[in-house]
C-alpha cells in the first residue's frame, strides 16, 4: 500500500541519517497510521544503546535551564543528543503552546542536537506510548543520549519519566507547600534530585531537607543505587559537574535500556499476567472500562472511564441534579463515589482482587451543578498484600488549568 511504503522509505532514510525524514517519521509514528506499528517494531528492534535521561520539574523549577546546561556539557563532549520536550495541552481545545525548546537557546542550533516537542493531548497512556516510540526512533537512528523532559505536575509525568534509565527531578528551593507536594509525588521515582537556583542560600537548606526525607523513605537498602540530592545553579555554573558525575555514576550502576526490561512480562507464567503485559494503551482503556461497566454505582451516577493503565485510572462525572445535597451543592458522597471508583479500578487493574479497607477524603472547594469532575488514581505503593493509592479529584477550568477539588487516599488488601 502506497502510504505504508512511504513510511517504510522514511524509516530507511531516517536510519541512514536523514534528519528531515526522521522529523516526518516521528509525526507519522505519533499519529499511528497504517504501517506505523511495523515501523515502531522495527525501531524497537534496533534500539538499546541510547541512555535515556528523564527530567521532570514543576513550572518555574528551573528545569529547562538545567537541561540547557546538560546539553551544553554533552555537546562539548561530542555526544549526539535528542531531546523530547513534553508540554501539557489545553483540556478545552486540545491545543498547546510548546515552549520548552526555546529555553535551550544557543544549544538548539548545534548540529548534534535534535529537539522534538510533544503535547500531552490529555491522554496519559497514549502519551507514554508515543514517547516510548519516539525514544526508540532516536535510539535506532544513532542518538547516544535521549533526554525526556516533562513539566511535572503529577502522575502523568511520572509515568513518562518512568521509562527513563536515569530519572532526575528538579525542584526549586523553598520549603513551602508547593515543595511539600513535590516531595509527596515525585520522591518515589527520583534517582537524582536537583535543587535548582543553587546560588540562593535557601537551596542548600532545601537540599538538606530533601536528603532527610529520602533517608526516612529508604525503601530498599540493598538496591544498587541510593538516590542523591544536589544543589545546582545554572546561572553560577556550579553543581553542574556534580550533576554530570551523578548521572554518569547512575548509568554505571544501573545501565541503560531499562524501559525495555520494564515492559517485559512478569516472570509469572500466569496467562492473565501475559495478557495484561501485551496490552497497549487502547487495550488498557478497554479493560478498565470493562470493569466499570459491571459497576452498578458507576452506572447509576454516570461515572465514565477516561483512561486506565496498570495501577492507574481516570474517571469522570458531570454533576447533575441527582448528585446534589439539600444545600444545592454537590453531595460529598458523590465525590467520594467518584474518587472511590477510580480507586477501585486502579487497584484492581492488575488482576488480583483488591478490596478497600480504609479511605480518607478531603473536600476543598464547592462543586455545583454542571461541573465536570475528573478523578485520577495512581498507585503510591503496592506489595503482594497491601496497596496504597492516591486519587486527585479535579475540575478542569480554562486553558491548562484545573482546580483541585478533593484529595483521597485509600488502602486495599490484596487477595493472593
Amino acid at each position: 500500500m502506497a502510504v505504508s511504503a512511504s513510511i517504510d522509505a522514511l524509516a530507511t532514510r531516517a536510519l541512514a541519517g536523514d534528519r528531515r525524514a526522521l522529523g516526518r517519521l516521528l509525526t507519522l509514528v505519533d499519529d499511528g497510521g497504517a504501517g506505523s506499528a511495523d515501523v515502531v517494531r522495527q525501531m524497537a528492534a534496533r534500539a538499546g544503546r541510547a541512555w535515556v535521561v528523564g527530567i521532570t520539574g514543576v513550572p518555574g523549577s528551573g528545569k529547562s535551564t538545567l537541561v540547557d546546561a546538560l546539553l551544553g556539557a554533552w555537546l562539548a563532549d561530542g555526544r549526539t543528543v535528542a531531546v523530547i520536550a513534553i508540554d501539557p495541552s489545553s483540556p478545552v481545545s486540545g491545543g498547546a503552546v510548546l515552549g520548552d525548546r526555546i529555553r535551550m537557546g544557543a544549544n538548539a542550533a548545534h548540529p548534534n542536537v535534535f529537539i522534538r516537542s510533544f503535547s500531552a493531548r490529555g491522554e496519559l497512556g497514549g502519551l507514554s506510548r508515543a514517547t516510548l516510540a519516539a525514544v526508540d526512533c532516536f535510539d535506532a537512528c544513532g542518538f547516544e543520549r535521549v533526554i525526556v523532559e516533562t513539566v511535572g505536575t503529577g502522575q502523568s509525568e511520572t509515568a513518562i519519566v518512568a521509562l527513563a534509565d536515569t530519572r532526575v527531578v528538579v525542584c526549586p528551593p523553598g520549603l513551602g507547600d508547593d515543595v511539600q507536594a513535590i516531595k509527596a509525588g515525585t520522591l518515589e521515582i527520583a534517582d537524582i534530585l536537583a535543587v535548582s537556583k543553587g546560588d540562593l542560600p535557601l537551596a542548600a537548606q532545601t537540599a538538606a531537607e530533601m536528603r532527610e526525607m529520602l533517608t526516612l523513605r529508604r525503601k530498599n537498602a540493598a538496591s544498587a543505587w541510593q538516590p542523591r540530592v544536589l544543589a545546582v545553579s545554572a546561572l553560577a555554573r556550579s553543581g553542574i559537574d556534580e550533576l554530570l558525575a551523578a548521572l554518569d555514576a547512575h548509568r554505571e550502576a544501573m545501565g541503560v535500556g531499562r524501559r525495555r526490561v520494564a515492559s517485559a512480562p512478569a516472570t509469572s507464567h500466569d496467562a492473565a499476567a501475559r495478557e495484561i503485559a501485551s496490552l497497549d494503551a487502547q487495550g488498557w482503556r478497554d479493560r478498565i472500562a470493562g470493569l466499570a461497566a459491571r459497576d452498578g454505582l458507576c452506572q447509576a451516577l454516570g461515572i465514565s472511564v477516561r483512561d486506565g493503565g496498570p495501577g492507574r485510572a481516570a474517571v469522570a462525572m458531570t454533576v447533575g441534579a441527582r448528585h446534589l445535597n439539600f444545600n444545592g451543592g454537590c453531595h460529598g458522597g458523590a465525590i467520594f463515589a467518584l474518587a472511590d471508583s477510580a480507586f477501585g479500578l486502579a487497584s484492581n487493574s492488575h488482576g488480583p482482587l483488591a478490596s478497600g479497607i480504609a479511605a480518607h477524603i478531603t473536600y476543598q472547594v464547592v462543586v455545583r451543578v454542571g461541573d465536570t469532575l475528573i478523578a485520577r488514581a495512581v498507585e503510591v505503593q503496592r506489595s503482594k498484600r497491601i496497596g496504597v493509592y492516591r486519587i486527585d479529584v479535579v475540575r478542569p477550568e480554562a486553558v491548562g488549568e484545573e482546580t483541585a477539588v478533593s484529595s483521597f487516599t485509600g488502602t486495599v488488601s490484596i487477595r493472593a
Binding site: 499511528g32 486540545g94 538548539a108 497514549g126 508515543a130
Partner: protein
C-alpha cells in the same frame, strides 16, 4: 479520500494519537524587531483553536528557523513582522526549499506595505495578514494551509 481532507490516519494497534488533526504551527520573528504583542495573541489563538504551537522569542536566525521546522515537522510557519523584517522572508523561503522543506507553508502577519506584499507572494509566501485580520480568519486559514502542507509532504514521500 476526499480531495480536501488530509489523509486521516486509521487508529492502529500501536495506539497512535492521530485521531484528531492537530496542525503544528511555528510562530516566530526573524530579523531585528522585537515587538511581539501580535504574535503572542496569534499563538494563543492557534492554541485555543486546537493547534500545537511552537513559539519562539524574536530575533531568530534563518538557519535556526529551518532547523526547528525540520525537527518539529512544522506544517505552517507564521512570521510576525512589524517593521521591515519581512524583507528577508524570501531568503527564508529559499532556505526552506533547499533543506527539503518546500512543502511547508509560510504566512506573514503584521505591517507589510502593499508594494512589498507582492514580492512576498511571488517568493512563495502563502498569505499576508494585515492589521484588522480577525483571529478566526487567521486560524481558519492556517488550518487550511496545514492540510495543504501535509498533503504535499505525503505526495512527495510517495514519489520517492
Amino acid at each position: 479520500m476526499n480531495e480536501n481532507e488530509a489523509p486521516s490516519p486509521q487508529p492502529s494497534p500501536a495506539g497512535g494519537r492521530g485521531s484528531d488533526f492537530r496542525p503544528r504551527v511555528l510562530v516566530t520573528k526573524i530579523g531585528l524587531d522585537g515587538h511581539d504583542r501580535g504574535s503572542r495573541i496569534v499563538a494563543a489563538a492557534c492554541r485555543d483553536a486546537g493547534m500545537e504551537v511552537i513559539y519562539t522569542p524574536p530575533w531568530q536566525s534563518i538557519p535556526a528557523v529551518v532547523k526547528l521546522t525540520m525537527e518539529e515537522d512544522v506544517d505552517v510557519v507564521g512570521i510576525s513582522s512589524l517593521a521591515t523584517d519581512h524583507l528577508i522572508v524570501p531568503k527564508l523561503m529559499t532556505a526552506l526549499r533547499e533543506a527539503g522543506l518546500g512543502n511547508v507553508r509560510v504566512v506573514v502577519g503584521g505591517i507589510v506595505p502593499d508594494n512589498e506584499e507582492k514580492l512576498l507572494i511571488e517568493a512563495g509566501v502563502r498569505e499576508v495578514f494585515h492589521p484588522g485580520s480577525t483571529m478566526d480568519d487567521i486560524t481558519t486559514r492556517i488550518r487550511d494551509y496545514a492540510r495543504e502542507s501535509r498533503r504535499a509532504a505525503a505526495d512527495a514521500e510517495v514519489k520517492t
